[in-house]
Symmetry: C2
Subunit: 195 residues, 2 copies
DNA sequence: GCCTTTTCTGACCGATCGGTCAGGCTCTGA
DNA sequence: TCAGAGCCTGACCGATCGGTCAGAAAAGGC
C-alpha cells in the first residue's frame, strides 16, 4: 500500500497545518494527524524526524518572508520604514493566515524551539519600524496592538478573500499608526480627563 | 504542617494565575502549581475539584466585568455604543491583564468549557458595538483587530503601569475605530491602487 | 526471477498528564 | 481526654503523549 514518493509527506504537512491552526501545536497529537491522513503514527515519524521538525517545515515559508521583510527594513527610517512595515506585514499576515494561527497563543514557548530563533528579535524590529522608531510609549503600544490585532484578525478570517482583507487592514493600519512627525497632540492637562 | 484556613487556597490560585499566564492552561500542570506553592498535587485537588474549576475561579472576576459591560451595551447604538465599548474594554483589559493572557491563544478550546459559556457571544456583541453596529467588513475587521490587539498588548505589557497603558490605548482605539457616521472615504477607483 | 531501497506498520517504551483514595496530621470544642 | 473536622500526603490509577524498533509490504532496477 506504499504511495508515490513524498506524496504522503505533503499530505501529512497539510493535515498538520489544518490541525495546528485549530487545536494548536500542543493540542494536536501526532496520532490526530496520522488519523486524518489515514496512516499510522509511526509513518508520520518516518517522514518527519519528530513533531518539532514537522512544525519547522510548516513554518519555513512564512519565516522566510518575515526574514525578507526584516532585510528590507534594515536601511529605512521614519515614515518610509513605517509604510514598508505596514504593507509588508499585512501582506505576510494575509498570505500566511494559517501559519499565523498556529503561533497564536503558543508564542512564548514555541519561540524557544530552534525553528524560531531570532523571530522575537525580528518581531521587535518590526514593531519599532511600525512605531516610526519612536520611543514614545504610545507609539510602541499602538504598533504592538496593530501587529497582534492583524495577526489575530487574519487567523480569524481565514475564509475571507485576500482581496477583501488586505485593503481593509491597510486602511486601518495607516489610520491607526501614530504619525512619526506629529509629536502627539499636546493636551497635557486633559490626558487624564477620563477617570 | 496544616496552614490557616483557605490560606493555601489563595496561594494556589495566585500561583495558577502566574503560571497559566506564562505557560498557558494546557502547558501548566497541576504538579507545576503545587511545586510553586510548596504543597502536593493532591493538596491542589483537595482545594479545587479539578483543573477546570481552578481556571473557572481564576477567571470569574474578569468574566463578571465582561458581563456587566455587555449589559451596559444592551441599550446603546451607534457612536455611543462605540465609545462605551472602547472605554469599557480598555478598562477591562488593563485591569485583568493576567487573565487575558491566560485565554490568549487557547481561546477556541477553552471556550468549550462550562466556565466560558456565552463568552463567544458576548465578544461578538462587543465587536459589533465597537464597529458601530455597521455591517461594513472594514468596520468589523477594524473592531476585531483592536479588540485582539488590545488584549495582546495588555498581556504583553503586564508590568507597565495602568495609568500609562490606559490613555495610550484609549487614544489609539478612538483614532483607529471606523467612524460610524462617515460612510467610509469614497475612493472606489483607487481602493485597489496597491497591487 | 531476485535483491535492494523506500515506505509503512504494530507493538512497545518511558514520561507525564489529570484524578482517586486511604490514611496521617493538627487543631478545636465538648 | 477524646472524637471529629479540616487539611494534607504518598501511592497509585488509566489514559495519552512523543518517540523507537524490528520487520512486513510494495516498488523498481537488474
Amino acid at each position: 500500500m506504499a504511495r508515490a514518493v513524498s506524496e504522503t509527506h505533503g499530505e501529512i504537512l497539510a493535515a498538520a497545518a489544518r490541525q495546528f491552526a485549530v487545536t494548536g501545536y500542543r493540542g494536536t497529537s501526532l496520532q490526530d494527524i496520522a488519523r486524518e491522513v489515514g496512516v499510522s503514527k509511526a509513518s508520520v515519524l518516518y517522514h518527519f524526524a519528530n513533531k518539532e521538525a514537522l512544525l519547522a517545515e510548516l513554518m519555513a515559508p512564512a519565516i522566510a518572508m518575515l526574514q525578507s521583510l526584516d532585510d528590507k527594513l534594515a536601511g529605512l527610517t521614519g515614515a518610509a520604514a513605517q509604510e514598508v512595515a505596514a504593507t509588508g506585514f499585512v501582506d505576510l499576515a494575509v498570505r500566511f493566515r494559517r501559519e499565523i494561527a498556529v503561533l497564536r497563543g503558543e508564542f512564548p514557548e514555541l519561540l524557544c524551539q530552534p525553528a524560531f530563533t531570532h523571530i522575537q528579535e525580528i518581531s521587535d524590529r518590526l514593531r519599532n519600524a511600525l512605531a516610526g522608531y519612536s520611543d514614545r510609549p504610545s507609539a510602541q503600544i499602538a504598533a504592538l496592538v496593530l501587529l497582534a490585532g492583524i495577526s489575530e484578525a487574519c487567523a480569524e478570517f481565514v475564509d475571507v478573500p485576500e482581496d477583501d482583507l488586505r485593503p481593509a487592514l491597510l486602511t486601518l493600519v495607516r489610520r491607526a499608526v501614530e504619525p512619526v512627525d506629529a509629536p502627539q497632540p499636546q493636551t497635557p492637562t486633559t490626558e487624564d480627563k477620563e477617570s
